[in-house]
């Protein structure tokens, strides 16, 4: 039996009258990539924001690396956040800082007590991992969307987190860059030994990066399993629809 790093039971979240999550159960095992698929607005981002403590759940158990998020002190939450990396949907790089300063940021202000040399070494290592060493002195505004995504990933992995949460890593990118990002996610998994949740509505990404796939429909997980299991012939019409619209020219993918 593998270790569970995230355990969520019967999770509910509403915004006013809008019921977004209605009884989510989720397990993330050590060292796996779990893909969460779902239409826009189904609450995928809300789910991972709950996992890193940005949004508070209304009801339900959320256990991350042994911390119970419903009863967590500020100090514990900070300690947990060093172990949980979050890659934002729109990268969320700090505009006013260079790429190097962006990546140094968590090292300088969260880990602290690192020497300049250790920091430089770590920055160089992750920049090499994402293949963007040449952008060190540039500002985020000078980079393309795909490059920003990579830097976002670099900034997240620089502190060696145990869990990575990717919010739509391939959204808005061309197909070739998508494949490159997918490869990067797999490479990060191998190199940094992190467990990941990957939020997406891109089935190619799901297929390439996911060990398991979960489909979020109407606030609950409709189905979980490996890619073939989820999209087999007995899949519900909504899941089939999801599949067919993604591969609209190639229904027998």
């Amino acid at each position: 039996m593998r270790n569970t790093v995230i355990e969520i039971r019967d999770l509910y979240k509403s915004f006013g009258d809008l019921h977004v999550l209605k009884g989510i159960d989720l397990d993330l095992y050590d060292g796996e990539n779990l893909v969460v698929l779902g239409k826009s607005g189904t609450g995928k981002s809300v789910l991972i924001k709950i996992i890193c403590g940005l949004i508070k759940a209304d009801k339900g158990k959320v256990n991350v690396l042994g911390y119970d998020l419903n009863n967590i002190t500020k100090a514990e939450l900070n300690a947990l956040r060093l172990e949980v990396g979050f890659c934002f949907q729109h990268s969320a790089l700090y505009d006013s800082m260079t790429i190097q300063e962006n990546i140094e940021f968590p090292l300088k202000y969260a880990l602290k007590n690192l020497s300049k040399m250790e920091m430089d070494k770590k920055v160089d290592r992750v920049l090499e991992a994402v293949g963007l060493e040449q952008t060190k002195k540039q500002y985020p505004a000078e980079l393309s969307g795909g490059q920003k995504k990579r830097i976002g990933i670099a900034r997240t992995i620089v502190v060696n987190p145990k869990i990575l949460l990717y919010d739509e890593p391939t959204a808005g990118l061309d197909p070739i860059t998508c494949v490159e990002i997918n490869d990067l996610i797999n490479q990060v998994k191998a190199e940094f030994k992190a467990s990941s949740i990957i939020i997406t509505h891109d089935l190619t990404c799901a297929k390439q990066t996911g060990d398991r796939v979960s489909v979020l429909l109407d606030g609950v997980f409709e189905k979980t399993g490996n890619f073939a299991e989820v999209f087999n012939s007995e899949a519900s019409s909504q899941i089939k629809q999801f599949h067919d619209y993604n591969f609209i020219d190639n229904k027998n993918f």
């Binding site: 934002f88 968590p106 202000y109 969260a110 900034r155």
Partner: protein, 264 residues
């Protein structure tokens, strides 16, 4: 601090006034949070120094110009009234009292509200709507400490210093005017100018400038930090920073003048 969810709560007065009251309350909570979280131990010094530079040094040009012109023009315009009484020799003391007691701090604060306030409001606002503040939070850096405390403190310290600088520049402007018209030499001018200024004047101006700086920092950080989603929110944050800062500056001015006068 965060917006209330749109529940179906009964209105306390009317929807609009309720919203204002809630906004006021969350503003007060924001200030309380500042005092709770503030400590020199957790202060991010590098960011604080950077902000002092941004706020103080970068406003210097505009403030120099405004201060100088204020002193010069104020002297010029006051001359005829004094001439009517044959009292133009009182010009230096009249001008210096006006500058030190009121004009320097007020002019500095209003310029800073426009320049620094809109800057902070827009910067934090865009960081909020592009999730940069969330990004800080999830990387275990407390954005309130990193962004708000440093900026508020930098404003609170920079604006009083700028105010004294403005006073000096305004007096220089005034001196040039007096020198050209009455050929008063610098020594006589300074003697007259400082002779009429008391410690109460200096002290109350200092306190006023500190309050102005704190208010500008607090108001613009609050507007930016709580900007609502979208690019419209950024513009709105910049705008409310300036409008509310200037409004509060005048309230503080009136209040401090009343208190100071009760000591005279």
């Amino acid at each position: 601090m965060l917006k209330k969810p749109p529940g179906k709560r009964e209105n306390f007065i009317s929807e609009k006034i309720d919203r204002q009251l809630l906004d006021f309350k969350s503003g007060v909570d924001f200030v309380i949070l500042f005092f709770k979280e503030f400590s020199f131990k957790t202060l991010v010094w590098s960011e604080f120094v950077h902000q002092c530079y941004q706020i103080g040094l970068k406003s210097l040009g505009l403030i120099s110009l405004t201060g100088f012109v204020t002193g010069l023009v104020f002297t010029q315009q006051s001359r005829p009234s004094l001439l009517d009484f044959g009292a133009e020799s009182w010009l230096p003391s009249l001008v210096s009292i006006a500058i030190v007691r009121a004009l320097a701090a007020l002019v500095t604060a209003i310029i800073a509200a426009g320049k620094v306030g809109s800057n902070i409001g827009a910067e934090l606002g865009s960081m909020r709507v592009t999730e940069q503040i969330d990004a800080m939070e999830v990387s275990a850096v407390r954005p309130f400490n990193f962004l708000v405390i440093t900026r508020v403190l930098a404003c609170t310290i920079s604006i009083p210093i700028l105010s004294f600088y403005t006073a000096a520049v305004a007096l220089a402007g005034s001196f040039i005017n007096v020198y050209v018209n009455e050929q008063t030499n610098l020594r006589a001018f300074l003697f007259d100018a400082f002779d009429s200024i008391t410690f109460l004047d200096l002290g109350s101006s200092l306190i006023k400038a500190i309050l102005f700086g704190f208010t500008i920092g607090m108001v613009s950080c609050y507007s930016g930090y709580n900007a609502s989603k979208g690019t419209i929110g950024v513009g709105k944050a910049a705008n409310t920073s300036v409008v509310r800062s200037i409004f509060l500056i005048f309230i503080i001015e009136i209040f401090v003048v009343q208190v100071t006068n009760s000591f005279r």
